[in-house]
């Protein structure tokens, strides 16, 4: 048995009983990385020496006993969007190519205090803008299930690393699907919590009204444990909400009986991969056998969500990314005067997709277009939110596919930004409405690529979607399959 293949929950049991040490687990993970990283390129930065030192500290704490944090001694991966004190943090951008943060973000600090071991920083689309991780300025990450496919994005490095056992679990961020869509593409569990549930302090901002931090794990139990560790009020994030954090794992009893689950017709549409539709419908039947009640619901403004998102997210991004001016940190180009320094630093520092979104957002906010685009999008955002409010009067959770297709080929969509944007057609609405949503593996297509089912919950009701996800997981074997890291 190789330690890196185990789940967080399983390892916690072994570490607590002192059957294995954190150093052994961490070394097993690094051996796995050495054996596979040439094929996958999941990581931007590896922290081997630091990780071993952290593992030794964890072993000392474990030796003293009495502590019960499930993360103590567990090797985790962090998306390169999380500020990590003293460890390079690039956001997969040239403009932050040498940036070493002076402090840890809140989620990272909480993981460290819990005694987790940071393996390294994972690859992503530059500034989290993308659905394939191909927009990274550092490397292309390959899908462990079929190496000519993308891992999804933007948290594609984290998803590939979890799927290929290059870490025990990972942290990602999700602005329009960036945890859930790569989780679906790589056959793992990914949860975007309610907006305000996890502090955004110390994550590099993309779209501040949409960004959320969340776990990416091998199964639902691990997901619940990770969420509990990072959730909670933080005075350093003015949008974090002061609500108690439940013991999420305590809701995982395998029973979903009596829960009312809404199935929205707008998420089963022509053009989606038939195998995805079949797999999700079959998953719903499995849950029906477990005793859930199906309700037909309608979310009529679903078809507008992508359009709303690409105004709001780009408008917020254009404002957030104005800080990269080459003055206090980040890349500075040589130029004759101040304006040219700004312009050249940004021209040379940002990649094509980031520039495209800054342009779109600046346009939508500029004089003469603000009402027609930005204000219009904010009004339609209200309609999207109201759709969910109406649906949740009839049901406790909503089930949909996570993505319209399985992982697409590397290079397939890079020339057509709009086609790439439509990969997030099923995940964006939860961000616009601020709702929690989880993706769990629910099958494979004919080519052996994983399919994800999305469960969306009410505000701050992560417990119900975790409970449903766990009941489904208990009834199926999908989460136990491992990728072979070949060309399929």
């Amino acid at each position: 048995m190789s330690l890196h293949t185990l789940t967080l929950h399983e390892l916690h049991g072994k570490l607590k009983k002192r059957e294995v040490s954190s150093v052994e687990v961490t070394e097993s993970v690094f051996r796995r990385i050495s054996a596979t990283e040439d094929k996958l390129h999941s990581y931007i930065t590896l922290c081997r020496d630091k990780a071993i030192a952290e593992a030794k500290q964890a072993d000392e704490r474990l030796g003293k006993g009495g502590e019960s944090s499930p993360l103590l001694g567990i090797p985790l991966a962090l998306k390169d969007i999380f500020l990590t004190q003293g460890v390079l943090t690039t956001c997969a951008s040239k403009i932050l190519g040498n940036f070493v943060p002076p402090y840890d973000g809140t989620a990272v600090r909480k993981l460290k205090e819990a005694g987790a071991v940071a393996v390294g920083k994972t690859n992503m689309d530059e500034f989290a803008m993308g659905s394939s991780t191909e927009n990274s300025a550092i490397a292309i990450t390959h899908n462990p299930w079929k190496l000519d496919r993308v891992p999804g994005g933007s948290s594609g490095g984290s998803a590939a690393a979890v799927a290929a056992d290059q870490c025990i679990a990972a942290l990602g961020t999700d602005t329009g699907g960036s945890i859930r869509q790569p989780a679906a593409c790589c056959g793992i569990v990914g949860l975007k919590p309610t907006y305000g549930r996890v502090s955004r302090y110390g994550i590099i901002a993309f779209a501040s009204s949409l960004d959320q931090v969340g776990p990416m794990t091998k199964n639902v139990t691990d997901c619940a444990l990770m969420l509990e560790a990072v959730a909670g009020y933080d005075p350093s994030d003015s949008t974090s909400v002061n609500a108690p954090v439940p013991a999420y794992a305590s809701f995982l009893n395998g029973d979903a009986k009596g829960l009312r689950v809404g199935i929205p017709k707008e998420y089963f549409i022509p053009g989606m991969q038939p195998e995805v539709e079949q797999a999700v419908k079959e998953a719903i039947r499995v849950l029906e056998k477990n005793g859930i009640r199906i309700e037909k619901v309608s979310l009529p403004h679903t078809e507008y969500a992508v359009a709303v998102y690409y105004i709001i997210a780009t408008a917020e991004a254009s404002s957030n990314l104005a800080r990269y001016d080459g003055m206090k940190y980040g890349y500075r180009a040589l130029a004759r005067d101040l304006t040219e320094t700004y312009t050249r630093s940004r021209e040379q520092g940002f990649g094509a997709e980031v520039k495209r979104r800054i342009m779109l957002g600046t346009y939508a906010l500029s004089a003469g277009y603000y009402d027609a685009y930005y204000l219009k999008a904010q009004r339609v955002r209200t309609l999207v939110k109201k759709d969910f409010e109406a649906a949740f009067r009839k049901c406790d959770a909503i089930i949909t596919p996570t993505a319209p297709t399985t992982a697409f080929k590397i290079g397939e969509k890079t020339q057509d930004p709009l086609q790439m944007y439509l990969s997030d057609i099923f995940t964006i609405s939860a961000n616009l409405a601020g709702l929690p949503a989880i993706s769990v593996p629910c099958g494979f297509d004919a080519e052996g690529l994983p399919i994800g089912m999305q469960i969306i919950g009410r505000h701050f009701d992560e417990a119900t979607i975790l409970r449903l996800a766990f009941a489904y997981e208990q009834a199926t074997e999908w989460h136990k399959k491992k990728p072979l890291l070949d060309h399929g």
């Binding site: 305000g196 909400v241 359009a307 021209e347 342009m359 204000l375 601020g434």
Partner: protein, 95 residues
């Protein structure tokens, strides 16, 4: 509405970005297709719908105005592209 190359140049100036003529042409076409897609929002009558900026119920989150951390100048200047003593060195701002 169709976005023109003149507008792309105007927006690039606002965003402190610049593009080669070839990039500008590709970008104009791409932005135009994206904006055409976004036009679908105009199918909806939103005259009586309030805009939504974000979903949290919080209006303002106030705190005491006091220093909670005080990193050293060296810490703060560690990522500076250019430094002189304890200052960020920047290009001349006033001619």
């Amino acid at each position: 509405m169709k976005i023109t190359r003149d507008e792309v140049q105007r927006v690039a100036l606002l965003a402190r970005l610049q593009f080669s003529p070839q990039e500008e042409e590709i970008l104009t076409g791409q932005l135009d297709r994206i904006l055409q897609y976004i036009e679908k929002l105009n199918q909806l009558d939103t005259a009586n719908v309030e805009p939504l900026a974000h979903v949290a119920d919080i209006v303002n989150a106030f705190r005491e105005d006091r220093v909670v951390n005080q990193p050293s100048p060296d810490t703060l200047l560690a990522n500076a592209p250019a430094r002189e003593r304890d200052f960020f060195k920047v290009p001349k701002i006033i001619e």
